[in-house]
Symmetry: C2
């Protein structure tokens, strides 16, 4: 794999607050045009939240009936039982329960805190925002929509902000992608001395998501970042990079 | 926290192969000068390997006597028992054992595969490269050395490439830092609607390391990347961002 020569990351500011049914490709094209960004030969990283909002992936908590399990957890840790119930419904499996936090395996297979459900930047005080149903498909639709508006040879990555075991702090990670290979395959390549490389599968999409995350400060109104300098190649769904449960040492 | 307006990442190519005792601040200053980079108001991400090589953090495997445990593991998975022995010695604890892989807690407290020991780009076929003894101190020394050669207001991040649970592929992560707060603290800040933010501690140093990783393709000879556009502020050691074991759900 050839390393890019230089990368430039430009925030797409000025995207309006997104509501269900909004034409995201159109709004992002307009934001790019305002920033004089040609969406060509690069990667657009878009935060999950605006995609979920445009897709109507929200729940009105006033309509949620919490289960006994949700009520138990909520009482123990002073949480909103209705939101806990939504987290449980979004989860295939609870991986760990900590003080006030559920580490969930989502229906998609992502392992993250509270199944990715949160209320920051929600359109109302009782609205919880869910992850998109199929973030890879969301990325592909967005990419098609941008290409229909003149974008060329771009990849789209849908990012979310996850915690990690063992370390404090959160990083942005790819939960959906289109138009780029999410991991590079360097198996069989040699190091500078001619020995086989030991580190062979960079998670390109995750590195791009993390890079964009530097500019996506959560209350700065930057829901998307354009990364120039990397010519996207290959294709593949993030879903395929989720480790097979039989291979995973941290189930 | 104010979001940066635009980030530019420039690879420092042309750094010679590093040997024990080399003057890394001098060699990196020269590489930056060749690329016309002023090391000012930005972040230099340096891969762990050249730091370990400069510091002589290597082991000659021909002098290693493997223990019974190392021999067992090596025979089971067709590994080099001497290298397994080094991995065990670098570890405080084996977190998980998988097929041919040890997930270790290093003496520093990092949790990673094979305690960060590897042989890619090593100066000889029997040489294994270890992590620096104190990567935060390495970052601080390098920063001091660069400032002594004219660099101004820069942060230095030492990065390494780690795997993660649940997902395939590797990302670069910060194992040492100087001159920047490794995590931002947004607790108490409000979202765009005036609600408290739920995602409050971006792991800035890790996001910067991951971003730089895009340009540090392992056999492309790019051991350092300059990130322009982020004015480093604060300070703190990566070591302080390792999660307290009592709080960790994945021990």
């Amino acid at each position: 794999m050839k390393a890019p020569k230089r990368l430039t990351l430009v925030p797409l500011a000025g995207v309006p607050r997104i509501a269900h049914g909004d034409d995201l490709p159109q709004l992002l094209s307009e934001a790019a045009a305002r920033e004089k960004i040609a969406l060509e030969d690069g990667v657009l990283v878009v935060c999950q939240k605006i995609i979920s909002l445009a897709e109507g992936q929200t729940v009105d908590l006033s309509e949620v009936e919490p289960s006994a399990r949700a009520i138990d957890f909520a009482e123990k840790y002073d949480k909103d039982a209705r939101q806990v119930e939504v987290v449980l419904q979004q989860s295939k499996r609870i991986v760990r329960e900590g003080p006030g936090i559920l580490i969930c395996e989502t229906q998609h297979g992502f392992v993250c805190a509270n199944a990715g459900v949160d209320r920051s930047n929600a359109p109302g005080p009782d609205i919880a925002i869910l992850l998109p149903v199929d973030p890879d498909a969301s990325a592909a639709r967005l990419r098609d929509g941008l290409e229909a508006r003149g974008a060329r040879n771009l990849a789209v990555i849908v990012s979310d902000t996850f915690g990690r075991p063992w370390r404090e702090g959160l990083v942005d990670i790819a939960i959906g992608s289109a138009g780029i290979a999410p991991t590079a395959d360097l198996r069989g390549e040699l190091d500078l001395s001619g020995r086989p490389l030991e580190v062979t599968t960079p998670a390109t999409a995750d590195q791009l998501a993390a890079a964009a995350g530097i500019l996506m400060v959560k209350n700065a109104g930057v829901p998307a970042v354009w990364i120039d300098g990397i010519r996207p190649s290959g294709d593949g769904r993030i879903h395929e990079t989720l480790r097979d449960s039989a291979q995973d040492l941290f189930r």
